[in-house]
Subunit: 339 residues, 2 copies
């Protein structure tokens, strides 16, 4: 396999660091790794295969001779440099939301729509973290029964916001436990021991941008622009791992045991849904949890049951590491498809 | 107004303490307060109107001469003593789930179905905390447009489990922040920095009992035994205040502004849903939060928007203090209706 020069933009951020880790763990054929960051973060070091690499400034020239660039430096960096990187001969996988809805940019989850990749013009978009784990779980249900509507409520961890947010939760929780105050800086309101129904900015229809990403990106990934989806996105005081409570209305009747079987066969999914109550203790049941999913690659799904409020419907609960499958891992998996 | 002898069973628990506080705050006409608890907790003191009262053992004789008993001592205490208290001449308001679904026991939320009270035979049931705040918010929507289906996902605080759970979250969070482990005792798994899709025991249909309480109690309160409701109940690391993401399908078309107006007129509801984006910062929006609702009496509702996935539907987010409106306050409000 040809070895590649791989650049990571936003190499010091929560997702950038995870990308570098995933490239190493999956033995991606890296000839040279080029860690890039914004000016104020250059000269920092990142570790790759036992070496400390110095982070360099992101500028046009940085992409010369680069075969593949993973962008995880936020929307502004992508807007400024992504197409320039393509122009200079690099393939680009962009983790920001900037280009996701452009018709000439494929939006890819390898387990769901790998075929959409062939239309790319050098730049491929990585979907939103909450979208990725949802579509992986919806995929076999959609293929098996058809989906007529999805209602999803999320329980999203602070690592989705970045490293400053992780620090804010840690410090704020500590302060509150010690009876001290800790003013929010990253979030608009207190995140420790609280739940914030507000992720990203508000749109005109009163949904947040995060909620509309889940709607629009899911439609694009399933090539179904009229798919009926509604989302409520909520930040909870969890460090890593997004959870989602999903109600799916299906076109054909779906049996919970059958859905469980389909999900077990879905690549990238682990079913955690032990239905055997241990005698004497009906509480000894298994279900996916953020703390168990953190650091793992799969999307975990459980609480699979027939929805009692509709003729054809399934309710379930899924959890995934938002930095890995929700961002870094999915990006590297797209790269693996490309090369 | 005649002054009453009022007993509180479970007087040292999270809800029992709140009941005593609410009786005092609302100037309920108490002649004498009789705090009762299980054997191992008697001789403790509880404070009422500046006096320390000694907690007495719960037994049959304890209810003689008592006009009103509020039961918050768990299902076993209610099962053993509630009807005995009625037999001895006390009116009983029971916070446990034991008798809620019995046809001869009214299940009351004063803002929603006060008229159902007249059928009582001495015992009135207080609904589940998650049910109460939901029905208060659904009430004007149901009356205004009719409800064809409800999908709800909860974000429930640990105080709903009791005082031991509050302590477990506090200690576990502290330990984890200091890099130490803290084995769960109250919850089946770690609650700090996690989300547990498991409240109460599992039922045969794979819903939990907490979820089915929300379904069955809501149907009973609205006198609509076929109302279509599905719930996913999740425990989050919040001390006080339950939140709910609710999607309502309505029979008639409901406009978000109209729903906002109806909710503003609903007794017991405060709309926190400032839609005016401050220029330059679209994030300066208001919405209800558990930390703001804690210690308050009302149900707070926001994120009110037309559901984009159905013709007739409303999505919203509501928060309430689960110990107050979700338990103690609602019980005392029922008592106020009775006397």
């Amino acid at each position: 396999m040809t070895k590649l020069t791989v650049a990571v933009v936003g190499a010091t951020g929560a997702v950038g660091r995870e990308m570098i880790k995933v490239l190493e763990q999956r033995k991606f054929p890296v000839k040279a790794l080029v860690p890039l960051a914004t000016a104020r973060k250059q000269k920092r070091k990142v570790r790759f295969r036992g070496n400390d690499l110095t982070v360099r400034a992101t500028n046009d020239r940085a992409f010369s001779g680069v075969d593949l660039t993973l962008f995880a430096g936020g929307g502004t960096a992508s807007q400024e440099f992504a197409w320039e990187a393509v122009r200079r001969g690099s393939l680009v996988i962009d983790n920001s939301s900037t280009f996701r809805m452009r018709p000439d940019v494929p939006l890819i989850v390898p387990e769901v729509n790998p075929d959409s990749l062939r239309l790319h013009r050098g730049l491929i978009a990585n979907p939103n973290c909450s979208t990725i784990q949802m579509v992986v779980v919806l995929n076999p249900i959609c293929r098996g029964y058809g989906i007529s509507r999805v209602v999803v409520s999320t329980y999203q961890s602070v690592s989705g916001t970045g490293r400053d947010a992780i620090e804010e939760l840690r410090r704020q929780a500590k302060a509150l436990l010690e009876g001290r105050k800790y003013a929010p800086k990253v979030y608009p309101r207190q995140i420790a021991f609280n739940a914030l129904p507000h992720i990203d900015v508000f749109e005109d229809n009163q949904y947040t941008k995060e909620e509309m990403k889940m709607v629009n990106e899911t439609r694009k990934i399933f090539s179904d622009p009229r798919m009926k989806i509604t989302a409520t996105a909520v930040r909870v005081p969890v460090f890593v791992g997004h959870a989602e409570s999903i109600n799916v209305e299906t076109v054909e009747k779906a049996d919970a045991d059958e859905v469980r079987k389909l999900l077990k066969k879905q690549r990238g999914v682990v079913v955690v849904d032990d239905r055997k109550p241990t005698e004497g203790d009906p509480n000894l049941r298994t279900y996916p949890l953020p703390v168990d999913a953190a650091g793992r690659d799969e999307v975990f799904v459980g609480r699979i049951r027939e929805d009692i409020s509709v003729e054809n419907g399934i309710a379930l609960w899924c959890v995934s590491d938002n930095l890995r499958k929700g961002a870094a891992l999915n990006a590297v998996q797209i790269a693996e498809l490309l090369f």
